[in-house]
Structure formats: structure tokens, C-alpha cells
Amino acid sequence: MLSYFVRRLLVMIPTLLVISLVVFFIIQLPPGDFLETHIAELIAQGETVDSARIAFLREQYGLDKPMIEQYWVWLFGLLQGDLGYSFEFELPVGEVIGNRFWFTVLLAVATTIFTYIISFPIGIYSAVKQYSMSDYTVTLIGYFGLAMPNFLFALVLLHYANIWFGLSIGGLMDPRYIDAPWTLDKVISVINHLWIPMLVIGTSGTAAMIRRLRANMLDELQRQYVVTARAKGLSSTKIILKYPLRMALNPFIADIGMLLPQIVSGAALVSVVMDLPTNGPLLLRALQSQDMFLAGAFLMFEATLVVIGVFLSDVLLAMLDPRIRLGGASSK
């Protein structure tokens, strides 16, 4: 188990290196760079170009050097925690991102937990009560959740919250706390605002997970070992919790790796609509304006999330399922 853990950790290093190469290649793909776009814009506006400053930037970020060298500079910067310089904001990328990173993580984690907490009981219930009225009801609601685009749901919520309750539910906190130091009131304000984006972003994921859990549970409930458990004299509740649920869990743990980045990137549109201080809107802008280091930092961030998520689910699976932990040798 320990050797598996260590090996799995070590494998992440080359994976991330390759990802960084691909990310760098992608952000370099569009012709030109930010400075060229910027110069063209200034000239078009009839302004003079501070050629000394441009040359300085060009040199500092090695934009005049061959691509492979630029990559090395960027990579070494990353390793030392230097994410590069955002041309658009004229600030180091680290400062531009700032709190957004933590808000994104907060939102992602909250949404994941929301998804799991809601979907598990409902999924199990609708599997056990298959084809009952309650199963059909839950299924119908689930289809709504699946079918409605997140951003549309966000717009609808924003609209009605304003009309009915006179509330402005955009953002992640009350406007007066933005840029204010952290206080208890600010935390409470964040919590008060958090649930709406959580609900909006989590709905479709929850609906999808209810469907999958139901299908998995229905498969597992047919299995012979469930009959064995019944034959022992276990009560139905205990049987379901101990046996089929345990087996139905595997796909969900395996999903963690996919869930995190999905929430982060899938939330971009919602974040734009709801004006959330998360990564999504900024990434969109950085990609549009060829702000390469900012975009690169975001892409690396998402890729790292995937890699960590997959690592987490692998380790969790190995811990939960003895067939994975011990089964390596017995397979043919």
C-alpha cells in the first residue's frame, strides 16, 4: 500500500511536466503575443508607443527568445512560485489571482459536498423504491436539473430573488466587504451568499449523480451477495448500507478526479452571470486578450486539480476496495 502510494505520487511529477509543456504550447498557439496585440491597439488609437518599455518587457519575459527557452523560464518560475506577469493588469499573476483562487476552491468544495449530500440519500431511496411514485417524482426533478443550463438557472434565480425579495444575490459577499479585511461579519456574508452559486452550479451535477447512483444501486441490489445478507437475517436498511451501497460507491470515488475541474471550469459562465470573484471570468478574459502568463497559470491550476483529484480517487479506491489493494497478483 505504501509503495503504491509513493509510486502514485512520483508518477504525478512527469504527468505535470508534460501538462505544463502542453499548456505552454497552447497559450503560444495563437499568432502573436500580448505585446503585439497591445502595440497594435495603441497605434490604432493614435497613441505613441513607449518602445523602451515594450523592449524592457520583451526582454524581461524573454519574448524575443526561442520558444523552448521561454518555456524553461516559465517552468522555473512556476517551480519557484513565480506565476509570471499579467500584461493586462500590469501586476504579477499571483497578485491578480489573489483571493480568487481560494474563493474558487471554496465554491468547488462546497458544491461537491452539496452534490454528494443531496444525491446520495435520494439516489439510494429512488433505487430501493424503484417505480414508486416518489421514484418518478425524484426522477422528474432530476431531469429538470439535467436539462436546464446552469447560467439560465442563475439568471432565473437572480431575477426572481430581486423581484420577490428585493435581494441582490450576485457576488460572493456583500459589496461593502469586498477588499475589506476578514472579519466575522464578512465570513457570515460569504456563507450567506455562497449557497446560491452552490445551488446553481451543483444542480446538474446532483441530478446526474442521482441518476447514476440509482442505476448502480439497481445493479447491485440484484446481486447474489445481497440475497446472502438477507439469508443471514440482516434487516433491509443494514443490508443496503453495508453491501450494495459500498459496492456502488466505487464509481463515485473514481469520479472525484473529474468532478473538481468540471465544477471549476463549468462554473465560468455562471460566475460571469453572477459576478462571482472566482477564476472562471478572469480565465475567459485572459484567453481573449492573450494574457499568456495569466491564462497559463489558470490552465496549470486546473490541470493540477485534475491530477490531484485523480490521485485522491485512486488512493481512496485502493483504501476502500481490497480487490484493488490486493488484487494485482491474482488477476490473469
Binding site: 451477495y225 446472502t228 438477507r230 439469508a231 437475517g233 440482516l234 453491501y243 476496495d321 488477476s331
Partner: protein, 643 residues
């Protein structure tokens, strides 16, 4: 004798979308305390439904319409309990279930949860019904595992089911069922999925535990051999009704009901008269008027009738146990070890051995589905003018053309047919792949083939799901015949079929061999089946060929200890020839180091196939030939009397 369980006029029906199905129709029988009652019948006879009703674990769609299931168990209550009147999920029923009545199932692979340790699952049953501390529970569970024959119970308690072999899993299942010392054990086909030597061990185990714990056993089975060996009383079910019941001797000596005597005639058994045919319960009607049979394969056999030569074939499978940096340790399993075989044109070569002995691997290498590590496979045809083909050297087009020569019939008639293709498409597919004929020709061939295997030609547009297991297997046979192969490899073609269907398919294969001049390699773990159909029999164990002999001499005078162990473990449907359960080699029959000299493998002596004359070969030490010839094995089955 006190009746532990008394079932009176039990009726159970299923509420299915297509209507009500009466699965059990007025069944009455009893199980005396401490005795074994066998409930016999083919699949669909309702025998498992009865057992589920006794346990209170009927499926949701089933309900008990009327009748009583009376449990008279003085150990728990002085009153007789009617299980049929209890709610299946009530506390009273749950107290009986798993505590006073336990059940073991057919499939040891799926009946245990794969993610909970054996100890966890056994202790769970214990803690449900008895107030014991965790430590006490563990020691009781360990004790139970020792009782069911685990070599190292303390270690076994922490293992997971997938780490155990099929036999050990079934033992773990038995330990779980018996840990609360029930008054009645229901064994639902407990040995059907197991190898014959393991089956004998499990039967012996159940018997030993029965006398030790003083419990009654309700043995549900379709195997009359098992019945004859373990039962005191027999109940025969057919279509939800009881056909016949009585003591073992009554039933076997004078089967009054035609169904039972038909069942007895349909099962292949040793001591069949030469040329005796099995009588299927439901005979199939074949239509043999087409051109397919008329174009019978060329029967002229050349001076050397060999059709296939397998020489020194070896196959290793490597299992990678990953280490820290991916490479890790590699261990090799020798699946097939230096096997030499010849198959003659027009014969049926039986290939016998337990699961994992390499018989399927060998057949796949002959098919070129796997490539051996060393050795050669030559297809010679065996007809005048046939040229030799080095099977392993074939590539691309030549290999494609060669594939028409050898075809395969698979074990599982359910998963070997594509559920999205009609029968017509399935049977025609080989012709399409090889580009033979146009659509009209193919249709004609398919229709003829369906007639040949006894399927109704009007069903050509049906999908496999609308056919029974036996019919599906016949579809598989028709598909294998479509290319007019010389050699047919049948891998356990009847082991997934019900006993009553086996005879149909076996007779069909026998007839086809004669009518079409086919050659078979017939793989099976069922010795009686092989005895019925094969001309020569090869016995494999742990990848090695240990004995090869004409059918008569192998069964009458086996030389190798492994063959003897196999033969002695086959339960005969005859109460006068009960298995000598004590003579089993404690599960070591398939361990080459446990075989006595000159058969045992000690790493010092070279092993070879020693010729005993008459085509009888046995694997032994090369220098042991003279002594083996001197003391030619005595026919072991001669002493047994025929009834």
C-alpha cells in the same frame, strides 16, 4: 422421527408483467430432524422457489398464495412456527433466518461480498443472532473456519473472498451458514459450480458437519449422482409439482413416475452399455433433407489418419506484480507444459481436467487465438492428398483461409451469441466473413443448418433471447458448422445446460460427427459426459498431459493417480456405489508433488509419456517404464456390481 420442517400444500405464484405464473403448485413434503432430503428437478421446476419460501427470501414479485411451512424446532420454541404466515421482514422471521435455518448457494464466486473480509461476513451472522463479544465472535468464527477445513483459519479470517479458490469460497460460505449452528441447512446446488474433486470434498464436509452439529439438510440439486450419495429421502419436482417422493432406495430402485426414470435415462453415466444412447426427455426433431448433409465430407482416410499434431507445446502466462517503479516482480504460470497430442480423423478426443488445468488454453492455441511460447502445431488433414499446414507459421490471408478448417463451440450459450443479431445473421456470419456465396446461397445454407441442428426454420428472424439454453447451444453449433470445418473444438458445450438438455446436445453432436464425418476435440470436466462421447481421452493436470488412453481402458484401468482421484470423485446416480469420501486425497490430488513414485514430480527425474500398450500412455519417470508395464493397473471399476 420428529419432522423438523413440514411443508403442506404450498402454492407460490409470481406476479409478472405478462401475467400470473404459478411456480409452486401444491407442494407437500417433510424434512426429518438430522436427516438429508434431496429436492430434485431441472431448472424451472420450482425447487429453488420452495427454498426461498422456507428462508423467507422470495423475490418481491413472488407471493405465497396458500399452504403452510411448519418449523418444529424445540431448541427455540415449544410451538410449531408457520413460516408462511410470518412477514419476511419481521423480527420473528429474521431471528429464524440465518440462525435456525441457513442457506448456501450455487455460486460461491458471487454469494460473498467481494469488499468485506471473510471474518467480517462470518462474524456479522454470528453477532446478529447471538450475544457474544467481538473477541469471542472472532474465536468462534476461527473455530468454524477450522471445522470447514481451512488450513490456516487465523489467517483466513482476514482474507477477502477473491483471494480464495472456488472450493475455499464455498467452504467460507458454509462456515458463514453454520456459525450459528442451525437446525436446517438448505444447500441450493452447492457443488454445481465446482470441480469434481472439490465437489466430493464439499459433499463430505457437509455430511461430516451434519453429524457433528446434528442438523437436517435440504439438498437442492439436479445432479442425481449427488443425490444418490448424500440423501436419505428424495423429493422429485417437475413444473411446480411433486412427482414422486420416498426414501433413496425406493426412488432409485423403482422409480414409479415416468419423469424420474426419464431423467435417469437422460444423464450420461459410467457403465453404459456399448452403443447405448441417452434418451433426452424432449427429443428434438432434426430435418436432414438438405444439400448440407448430402455434401458429406470426403471419407477416404489416408494411411496416416492424423488430422492434427500438437508437439511440445508450452505456454507461460506472466503475472506482473507491480513494484515501486512499475517494473516489479514478474511471476510466470505455466499454463500448458510440453504437451504432445495427435488427433485422428473422425475420432472424438476428450480433453479432461479441472478448471485451470490448461485445457482451454491448449484449445485456444490450436485455434491460433493464442500463440504458444514453444512447440509446433501441424494440421495434416488426414485425407489422401491433404498437405501439412504449420498452424503457427500462418499469417494474414493464409491464416484466414485456415480458420475455415477448425471451428469452436463455446461453453456459455448466452454470452457467445450476439443479442443484437438474429439467428439467421449469427449462423451466416462466418460465411459473410469469408465471403462465401451470395445472400440467397447463405440463406439456403442457414436454413439447412437450422434443420440439421433441429431448430425450426421459421425462427430464422428471431433473436437469441427468445431461445432456451439448449436451443442457443444448437445455434452455436450451427454457426460452427457453417464453414464445413474438418475439426470442431467443443469447449464444455453442455456444462452450462440443464441435465435434461445435455442429452439432446450430446446426441446431436454424436450424430453430426457420424453424418458429416467430423473430428472433435471435446473439452469437459464432466467425466461421464466425456465417457459418453469420446473415443480417446486425454487427462490434463496443471498444464501437463498426465494420461492418454482409449476411452475403455482409461475408465476401466486408469494408471495415473490423478486420473484415479478424478474417477473416484465422480458421484454415480446409484445408491449402491456411493463415493468413498474418505479416500479423497485431502484436496491434494492435483498436486504433482503429492503423487507417489514414479508419477510424482521431484525435479530430479525426467518425465515422459510411458506407453502401456494399446494406445494407453501415462506420464511417469522415464526409467519407470518396465515396472509400470509389469504391474499393469488393475481395472478399478470391475469390482463394482451393476444393478
Amino acid at each position: 422421527m420428529r419432522n423438523l420442517l413440514h411443508i403442506r400444500d404450498l402454492r407460490i405464484s409470481f406476479n409478472l408483467p405478462e401475467g400470473r405464473l404459478e411456480a409452486v403448485r401444491g407442494v407437500s413434503f417433510r424434512v426429518p430432524a438430522g436427516r438429508t432430503v434431496a429436492l430434485v428437478g431441472e431448472s424451472g421446476s420450482g425447487k429453488s422457489v420452495v427454498s426461498q419460501a422456507i428462508m423467507g427470501i422470495l423475490p418481491r414479485s413472488a407471493s405465497i398464495d396458500s399452504g403452510r411451512i411448519l418449523l418444529n424446532d424445540p431448541a427455540t420454541s415449544s410451538q410449531v412456527i408457520d413460516i408462511a404466515s410470518l412477514h419476511p421482514d419481521s423480527q420473528a422471521m429474521r431471528d429464524i433466518r440465518g440462525s435456525r435455518i441457513s442457506i448456501i448457494f450455487q455460486e460461491p464466486m458471487t454469494s460473498l461480498s467481494p469488499v468485506h473480509s471473510v471474518g467480517n461476513q462470518i462474524c456479522e451472522a454470528l453477532h446478529l443472532h447471538r450475544k457474544v463479544s467481538t473477541a469471542e465472535g472472532l474465536s468462534l468464527a476461527t473455530e468454524m473456519l477450522r471445522l470447514v477445513g481451512f488450513p490456516d483459519p487465523a489467517k483466513a479470517i482476514n482474507t477477502y473472498p477473491f483471494e480464495l479458490s472456488g472450493g475455499l469460497r464455498q467452504r467460507a460460505m458454509i462456515a458463514m451458514a453454520l456459525v450459528c449452528r442451525p437446525a436446517l441447512l438448505i444447500a441450493d446446488e452447492p457443488t454445481t459450480a465446482l470441480d469434481v474433486t472439490i465437489q466430493a470434498q464439499i459433499l463430505k464436509l457437509i455430511k461430516d458437519l451434519q453429524s457433528e452439529l446434528g442438523m437436517a439438510v435440504l439438498m437442492i440439486t439436479h445432479d442425481l449422482g449427488v443425490v444418490a450419495n448424500v440423501a436419505d429421502e428424495v423429493v422429485v419436482m417437475y413444473h411446480g409439482e411433486i412427482m414422486e417422493s420416498g426414501t433413496l432406495d425406493d426412488i432409485f430402485k423403482a422409480p414409479a413416475h415416468p419423469y424420474l426414470s426419464a431423467l435417469l435415462r437422460a444423464v450420461p453415466r459410467f457403465h453404459m452399455k456399448p452403443g447405448e444412447r441417452l434418451v433426452p426427455i424432449r427429443e428434438i426433431k432434426k430435418r436432414a433433407d438438405g444439400a448440407f448433409l448430402a455434401q458429406k465430407a470426403e471419407q477416404a482416410v489416408s494411411a496416416d489418419p492424423t488430422i492434427l499434431k500438437v508437439e511440445g507445446v508450452t505456454k507461460k502466462f506472466t503475472i506482473r506484480k507491480s513494484g515501486l517503479f512499475g517494473g516489479g516482480k514478474e511471476s510466470a504460470v505455466l499454463a500448458v507444459d510440453d504437451v504432445n497430442l495427435t488427433v485422428e480423423r473422425g475420432e472424438c478426443l476428450g480433453l479432461v481436467g479441472e478448471s485451470g488445468c490448461g485445457k482451454t488454453t491448449l484449445s485456444k492455441m490450436i485455434m491460433r487465438a493464442l500463440t504458444p511460447d514453444s512447440g509446433s502445431i501441424t494440421f495434416t488433414g488426414g485425407r489422401p492428398g491433404d498437405s501439412e499446414t504449420d498452424v503457427l507459421a500462418l499469417h494474414d490471408k493464409a491464416l484466414m483461409n485456415f480458420r475455415t478448417q477448425i471451428q469452436f463451440v463455446f461453453q456459455d450459450p448466452f454470452s457467445s451469441l450476439n443479442p443484437r443479431m438474429t439467428v439467421g445473421e449469427i449462423i451466416a456470419e462466418p460465411l459473410v466473413i469469408h465471403g462465401i456465396g451470395d445472400a440467397a446461397d447463405r440463406r439456403k445454407v442457414v436454413e439447412e443448418l437450422m434443420g440439421v441442428v433441429g431448430l425450426n426454420r421459421q425462427h430464422i428472424r428471431r433473436y437469441p433471447h427468445s431461445f432456451s439454453g439448449g436451443q442457443r447451444q444448437r445455434i452455436g453449433i450451427a454457426r460452427a458448422l457453417a464453414l464445413r470445418p474438418q475439426l470442431l473444438i467443443c469447449d464444455e458445450p453442455v456444462s452450462a445446460l440443464d441435465v435434461s438438455i445435455q442429452a439432446q446436445v450430446l446426441n446431436l453432436l454424436k450424430d453430426l460427427k457420424k453424418d458429416l464425418g467430423l473430428t472433435y476435440i471435446f473439452i469437459s470436466h464432466n467425466l461421464a459426459v466425456v465417457d459418453y462421447i469420446a473415443d480417446r481421452i486425454a487427462v490434463m493436470c496443471q498444464g501437463r498431459l498426465v494420461e492418454l488412453a482409449p476411452r475403455e481402458s482409461l475408465f476401466r484401468a486408469p494408471a495415473h493417480p490423478y486420473t484415479k482421484a478424478l474417477l473416484s470423485a465422480v458421484p454415480e446416480p446409484n445408491p449402491n456405489q456411493r463415493l468413498d469420501l474418505t479416500a479423497l486425497m485431502q484436496g491434494r490430488a492435483s498436486d504433482p508433488t503429492a503423487w507417489p513414485a514414479p508419477f510424482g514430480i521431484d525435479g530430479e527425474h525426467a518425465m515422459t509419456m510411458v506407453d502401456l500398450g494399446g494406445g494407453h500412455q501415462v506420464r511417469a519417470r522415464a526409467d519407470a517404464a518396465p515396472e509400470l508395464l509389469l504391474c499393469r493397473p488393475q481395472p478399478v471399476l470391475q469390482t463394482s456390481t451393476k444393478v
